[in-house]
């Protein structure tokens, strides 16, 4: 079984973000880049499938943030090798551009399964995996909470909001995972050492048969800003009974919501 896991480097979820000058992005200085939360579950699924069924688990990422460090972290978590799309022209591309780069790299490796997180914790687009599947001509299953292989078939449970569906189909397939799909393992020190010597290939767009024009973005982002600030709140005084009384009065007379 050849399993691919697409990993994105995103700012740690608890980062206090600042808008960069020009408002076309965030201030990146001092940010701690980590593997996006939802991809940690995908990685665990990929590694355990390979451990159970044999084969290979390959990690893919398009450069942004500390991509190389995070790919090494992924290798320490059980990935066998990594492919990093490293080309300045990928900066500023959109989801379809990223998907084109990933699909081209995946095609070269001939995989059976591609796992991705259901969304990235930064731009929260939920676009790239379905686009990769379209470009590869494979089916894709979104928001999967349980995944198994049954012979040459996959069986997946997808969370559709209001309903859960168990579906089946023949491999290959692209799957996007809920973070609850698996509990990521702890990294062990010997694995960190081993990861340093695992193969991490860097490929530019030309090596993937692509060009800057081929991934020119249709979607562009601007005018970043923090959300409108909430009016300053206040803590109520007195004992519990007094606080409860005062709260009801405020909700009625001041906020007028009851």
């Amino acid at each position: 079984m050849k399993v691919g896991v697409c990993i994105k480097s995103t700012p740690d979820a608890d980062t206090r973000l600042k808008v960069a000058a020009g408002a076309t992005g965030i201030e990146t200085a001092g940010i701690k880049w980590v593997i996006s939360d939802y991809e940690k579950g995908a990685l665990e699924v990929g590694v355990s499938l390979k451990e159970k069924l044999g084969g290979e688990c390959v990690l893919y990422s398009v450069g942004s943030g500390d991509t190389e460090k995070n790919l090494r972290d992924g290798l320490a978590l059980g990935g066998d090798r990594a492919v990093m799309v490293d080309d300045a022209a990928t900066k500023g591309t959109d989801a379809l551009g990223i998907a084109k780069a990933l699909a081209a790299a995946i095609k070269l490796d001939g995989l059976d399964i591609v796992l991705c997180g259901r969304q990235a914790t930064d731009d929260e687009n939920s676009q790239v995996p379905a686009m990769v599947a379209e470009l590869l001509g494979w089916p894709h299953i979104s928001f999967v909470g349980a995944f198994a292989i049954d012979g040459t078939d996959f069986v997946a449970s997808r969370n559709m909001g209001g309903a859960t569906e168990k579906v089946r189909g023949a491999l290959p397939v692209v799957v996007t995972t809920e973070d609850t799909i698996a509990t990521p393992r702890y990294v062990k020190l010997p694995e960190i050492m081993k990861a340093k010597s695992k193969k991490l290939e860097k490929k530019n767009l030309a090596a993937l048969g692509l060009s800057a024009e081929a991934i020119a973005p249709a979607a562009t982002f601007s005018a970043y800003s923090p959300p409108p600030s909430r009016p300053a709140g206040r803590k109520l005084a007195g004992d519990a009974a007094a606080q409860a009384k005062e709260l009801v009065r405020l909700l009625r007379e001041e906020a007028k919501v009851i």
Binding site: L17, V19, I26, D94, A95, L96, T121, D122, D123, E124, N125, S126, Q127, A130, M131, A133, E134, P139, H140, S142, F143, V155, M160, G161, G162, A163, E165, K166, V167, R168, G169, E178, D179, P217, A218, A219, T220, F221, S222, A223, Y224, S225, P226, P227, R230, P231, G233, K235, L236, A240, Q243, A244, K245, L247, V248, L251, R252, A255, V257, I258
Partner: protein
């Protein structure tokens, strides 16, 4: 051709609230742009009715859509886009918008703005505005190719009022395709909780890990919610621990809610929880830790033990209800 095409979703022939919501917004944008609105409907539904909500034409794709099938839906939407040739395509940001829309966008070679909460016209084009980074930032998204595809966060726009008028229905026959059978349904489990109760609630009382048990949740949060006609919600810590079902979870991986009043009891205010409720009009936090992050977002804060405060609050609400 040009104009705005809206995917009008329905369930067994009854249009969803989101269909009207999108049509209402499309009508407003089309008026500014001086263009027209059309709709695409998958399968059997009373298409002409959409005329009352501003759709001049309805593209009805004829096929069996009784089971959710990503590849079939993408083919159907692709056929409708080819027939309507719109400048803009609007799709609700629910499962279809997250699962099928990006695949359609790749097939069309265009771009998508996901999960927009605002749409406006600027320089003759539609621009989306959307939360990112768990709602810590907002940004504009512009699409330079046709059709510009936007998915909209549910409940972002008001329900429009119907006017007079019908719509011209254009039928599109969708032949079966071998790809339709690539993924087959084994089993479907429908949730017990009506999700609309939560996502469309005007008032919500939510509880966190601090409730300690299912009984804690059922004896403290639910009765408090009932006393003001609110829906009950939970953090992931609470639903993972089994105090509630996962259908009541609010946040990045749960429901996104936008009520007038949100009471958070025993909830710390993790960024992933805030992502689902930070736009609530009034937020009340009840937490025994005065430094809990939730207080930064709370309109009113009560530092105290929820097991003491909530029953007192419930009594006050009940007294108020009696007083009329």
């Amino acid at each position: 051709m040009s104009g705005i095409l809206v995917l009008a979703e329905h369930e067994g022939g009854k249009f969803r609230k989101g269909a009207y919501e999108l049509l209402g917004k499309a009508k407003e944008l089309a008026a500014t742009l001086g263009t027209s609105v059309s709709a695409v409907v998958l399968g059997d539904a009373p298409c002409t009715e959409l005329g009352a909500f501003g759709a001049a034409k309805v593209y009805q794709v004829e096929a069996d859509f009784s089971q959710y099938n990503t590849l079939q839906i993408v083919r159907a939407l692709h056929a409708a886009v080819q027939a309507a040739d719109p400048d803009v395509l609007l799709i609700s940001g629910n499962y279809i918008g997250k699962d099928a829309a990006p695949r359609l966008v790749a097939r069309l070679g265009t771009g998508q703005g996901s999960d927009c909460t605002e749409l406006r016209v600027e320089g003759g084009a539609v621009v989306g505005r959307r939360p990112m980074y768990a709602g810590k930032l907002l940004a504009d998204v512009k699409i330079s190719k046709r059709p510009a595809v936007f998915t909209l966060r549910p409940n972002s726009f008001p329900q429009p009022t119907p006017a007079a008028g019908g719509a011209e229905v254009v039928k599109i026959a969708l032949a079966a395709d071998a790809s339709d059978g690539r993924v087959t349904l084994v089993e479907r489990i429908t949730s017990q909780v009506k999700t609309a109760n939560l996502t469309e609630a005007e008032r919500i009382v939510a509880g966190g890990r601090a409730l300690k048990s299912l009984e804690g949740f059922d004896t403290v949060i639910r009765p408090l919610a009932a006393s003001i006609g609110a829906a009950a919600g939970a953090t992931r810590a609470a639903s993972d621990a089994g105090y509630t079902s996962h259908d009541e979870q609010i946040g990045q991986t749960g429901k996104i809610v936008n009520p007038q009043l949100y009471i958070a009891a025993g909830i710390s205010g993790a960024i992933q929880h805030l992502a689902g409720m930070r736009t609530s009009k009034v937020i009340v936090a009840i937490n025994k830790d005065p430094d809990a992050p939730i207080f930064e977002f709370a309109t009113y804060g009560i530092v105290g033990d929820l097991f003491e405060v909530c029953p007192l609050l419930q009594k006050e609400f009940e007294a108020l209800a009696k007083a009329g």
